[in-house]
Subunit: 381 residues, 4 copies
Amino acid sequence: MYDAVVVGGGIVGSSVGYHLAREGVETLLVDRRDAGRATSAGAGIVSPGTSSRTADDDWFAFATDAGDYYPGLVDRLESDGVSDTSYGRVGLIAAAVDDDEIVPYEEATARIEARRDELPEIEAIDPATATDRVPELAEPQRAFHVPDAARVNGRTFARALREAGRNHGLETAERDVTRIRTRDRPGGRDPQVTGVETADGSGIDADRVVIAGGAWSSAFGGDLGIGIPVEPKRGQIVHLDLPDAETGSWPILEGFRHHYIVPWPDGRLVAGATREAGSGFDPRVTAGGLREVLEEALRVAPGLDDATVIEHRVGLRPVCADGVPVLGPVPGVEGAHLATGHGATGLTLGPYSGRVVADRILDGKSIPDAVSASRFADGSG
Amino acid sequence: MYDAVVVGGGIVGSSVGYHLAREGVETLLVDRRDAGRATSAGAGIVSPGTSSRTADDDWFAFATDAGDYYPGLVDRLESDGVSDTSYGRVGLIAAAVDDDEIVPYEEATARIEARRDELPEIEAIDPATATDRVPELAEPQRAFHVPDAARVNGRTFARALREAGRNHGLETAERDVTRIRTRDRPGGRDPQVTGVETADGSGIDADRVVIAGGAWSSAFGGDLGIGIPVEPKRGQIVHLDLPDAETGSWPILEGFRHHYIVPWPDGRLVAGATREAGSGFDPRVTAGGLREVLEEALRVAPGLDDATVIEHRVGLRPVCADGVPVLGPVPGVEGAHLATGHGATGLTLGPYSGRVVADRILDGKSIPDAVSASRFADGSG
Amino acid sequence: MYDAVVVGGGIVGSSVGYHLAREGVETLLVDRRDAGRATSAGAGIVSPGTSSRTADDDWFAFATDAGDYYPGLVDRLESDGVSDTSYGRVGLIAAAVDDDEIVPYEEATARIEARRDELPEIEAIDPATATDRVPELAEPQRAFHVPDAARVNGRTFARALREAGRNHGLETAERDVTRIRTRDRPGGRDPQVTGVETADGSGIDADRVVIAGGAWSSAFGGDLGIGIPVEPKRGQIVHLDLPDAETGSWPILEGFRHHYIVPWPDGRLVAGATREAGSGFDPRVTAGGLREVLEEALRVAPGLDDATVIEHRVGLRPVCADGVPVLGPVPGVEGAHLATGHGATGLTLGPYSGRVVADRILDGKSIPDAVSASRFADGSG
Amino acid sequence: MYDAVVVGGGIVGSSVGYHLAREGVETLLVDRRDAGRATSAGAGIVSPGTSSRTADDDWFAFATDAGDYYPGLVDRLESDGVSDTSYGRVGLIAAAVDDDEIVPYEEATARIEARRDELPEIEAIDPATATDRVPELAEPQRAFHVPDAARVNGRTFARALREAGRNHGLETAERDVTRIRTRDRPGGRDPQVTGVETADGSGIDADRVVIAGGAWSSAFGGDLGIGIPVEPKRGQIVHLDLPDAETGSWPILEGFRHHYIVPWPDGRLVAGATREAGSGFDPRVTAGGLREVLEEALRVAPGLDDATVIEHRVGLRPVCADGVPVLGPVPGVEGAHLATGHGATGLTLGPYSGRVVADRILDGKSIPDAVSASRFADGSG
């Protein structure tokens, strides 16, 4: 009998598990290693000020809080005995190279200007400064620099959360959860979660279940009498190797067509990503997707032309119908919680979302409306 | 509005679709290309006399019929305009190399002897004959030869079935079916299938649905009010390359520890397979699994020591709780049919199973009891 | 003591070995499986009339003879007991899609017209005919069809040549030849080949050595006192999978920018290729190369956008300084022969080139000047 | 015109280049990225006291110096601005699991005892201590612990050396060197190096050339009139992933059958390696090699049975005929130096070897006899 079972060991589920265990909740984190997990593929740009620049105010506030939460969490993990989190503040250069990018550039800087108080320092830089920093970059027409932006490897960070969690008593297991179990209650009260059932037919008893199953989360809607409007949105990513560039000191590179290049110290550059709605659970590399990723990477950084293609990755991001995460109690079922729907922002927001969901369980703290699962109360199921 | 929707484009679903379309049934075959599909990984030994040597009489009869069905089907596909089926009768040598294999060898030959009338010709051969045929083979203590055994590439054969089906009007589409739709009917009659729902929320109308979803089939049990007791059982397989051996004229090689080596003309040898119950939907290559496959292949054929490892494949075979396929009408739901649960015998039996299920739909022909879905009438759900 | 040692088991060396053995020459074929071998990567279009359309007359005649040689060779291999050669006449559609391709198209058809007597039937087709044949094709502005064009898998064909050769007594071995041995002779006569030396320091005695080492051939120039002006020219290739297209009946597809798509029956499409001079011995997949191959494939056949990327291959084609193969006796060394330098035409010409070199050894037949090694008599070494 | 050209960008060549550039020598490092480079595959155990336990005294002293050199070099690289070297002191547990390992264990401890003054602290530990540390380990019969042992990623360390070198003016280029150029000198003096020639026929002038070409180095022997008795010895390596083990705090694991497991923080475990003499330049993964590596890894650490196989690597180690590196001036040619032949010890010794060769060039310091190229003065060429 556990206090809580967390279903899903991606970055969100690992964060929920860590934060619950840290406060003494007897928690089991179960996971089934699906091919296509978004956390494992994702490139990990932590720059909510720029990533979320089109969002509304509530959502923007949540995203900003999530970015601010990272450095303290990294310190905390270190004090929990886990030093390798992969988090690194390397900055970000956003470059408008082609004519069609000028307007998006201007809009982005206007929005940033409007929120100058809340945002980390962001400053326009001239083209020569950008190409001095990264000679492989195309000479941009406009560019700005975000010194506080950080990169994170999703797989490493999720692992670090679980490892630190285990140091606080978190249990972790590889199990395939097929059903959420509930029991009816007399007196018109909502049914109560009693645990989960796994593929071998056995059960795990728990008072609370947190569904952090990424794109696969909607499969549990039927058990809970609601629709969980989350679907997979495929992202294809290419890893390049540039053996003699000093990529350890490179900033993250972005154009204004929703793509990016995330540098790592060992010559590895991660270029992404497609955003393919309707992809289904099909973690394939496609001719069109790979072309798109390579074209965008080489448009922004033509100096990568001779880089070696060393790996493809594909993630199935869990995207909610309204494009915003779904956090907190499932309306109508006592003890059921959701923590999914982060889409392309999972690595940016996930650790904080996990904290928010854990706080709700621990202290009854309210979930911000913009991301609350209660918005599906009259659900589609 | 289709007459029938077949869910799953593995070898079983493709066969159902082909056989329905051939008789003029307006059929849509939908598929979602799951990683780990058993059809794509499987090695394809068509030798039911030996593969099913421990089975009971009914099951044995079904398996024998399935093997007998192949050659005529291959001819029929050719007359439908599809020449590349990959099917080839190359024979099979079963070799008892180590002491622990003598008893299984003797048991197998006794069973074959007892059924000599029904079985293809199988004859004991002496060790030198075996190693003359394949010098890479270990000198066996005992060996027999099955001249009629054939090999088939599951992916190619399923594709050939779909292609021939399209020549008869079969429609095929990549869609992710998430639910079977039914409607209640008055007068105490069973509910009636009305179609399927796909991941994007849209529906496809049909009077009949055939669930041929392999290891993923059980997900539809809830929609139909039954338990579909099918689970994934992982099989890891290694592809080897032997550039200058004349593998095109090699027989299939088997020891008596449930492993095999299937040869292909271009120097490719397929060695398999683990049988991992409880693997979940996790198409991974593991250290232990890969070691097992390589050890067994090199024990039976030490001459493959220097062969190049060119590929790993992993299949999640759909295994029914009682080890036998589940074919035909779902009890209690009008228009719902199952065609799954073939475990390691999918490539051996699948094309015939598809025919049997199609015949049930077309003509109301009864399904053999041993494999009928009606055995779960008092279902576990 | 062998009559001949052939160094290199690509398509050219395998052909030399086969043709020598067929005539009773005691021949050893040695090979070292270099990563990046052009034969293994190449896509294999046998359409010399169109492939060599810019060539001069002599070279054109050689290429035409080479294409004509294939069908009889395939029959001969079959009578030698090797049925799987992969050769198939599927035809070729050359499509001018964009404006810049009109002029090359017109030039090509003019050249073909001028040689109508020698060439296989080639006919202009209208755009609708082309896209009817292959719906994935872009609607072309102009197109022609070459019914006689064939495809061949280089690895399979080379293997078939070796296998058939072994049936005639050809010996094959995996050895790393590091040096060609010669001995001086009195009386001002040219030095005489005595065999080869391998990496373990041992020697293999032979009266003749044929260097068919592809891009690696130049390493033997020093031993023979000449420069062998052959360098690697990298070609990157992408394999796509289109599971439900009837690719077995597709023609080869070409635009007029030096790229191609070769279809195979099992849904596999081979798209290539870059032509990278100065690549060195570096069989890498690069960001720019992969982008180029995908862009060209999708420009000519936009319907491949959703095809799965299943494999990358890289070949290091041996390119001679003057762009033409180098065949026959090495000037100044008795018993040394070259058979290399085929560049992108290795699979088209290689089997015939092997025949030509073997005939020179067997009967003293002269080598066409255009491709003769004697043109480097005053060599650069 | 350079002062020195270093041929080869593996760990040895990169170290030579770094150390020369650091002292102001105008140096060009050229490299051609051969598939199979040992530095890129190698697992990197820096524990010369145990690795070299069978060596003679001179060689042992050299190996000990090499191990001692690492920590200072890492500090120096950091002060040169390169922080990511991958070097980490994690310790090493050597475990005798099976009976046949007791004698090698006893011999190793006896040798260590005999050299207790020179060696880092090594201490016997009891089986429970070993399996407490790493629960995946088999319970050993005997075990000892080497607290000072470190791991290093060869590719990362070589890269760090080049990057730090560039901060001191080192130039690096991707070029394929095909020949060492020399000029004869009057007065009976030895010929003098004048530079190198690359595959495109152009030359690079330099007064000194350091051949650090790993297994490919022997190709230059002919140019220098000597035999360079270095051959490739293949090592196959498997990378495993253990997602929830705390591998960042694991020690290196070794049995007493020449295999090892090197842990990295992110769940990655590197298991190796075969030692295949006579492999040629053939970086293949073979059935027998892969089986050997997996069997040994699972024998010593059965708890890795379910680890995921994520990658194979193959290195072609340069092995000298007498098993010892070949460092320093080539007898008989002014300005030619060798730095190769490290076999399986390249990552252990390479950085120090590079220093030793650089010191010889800079200051004329003598090379220890045991590893000096002068031992081939009456060479085999």
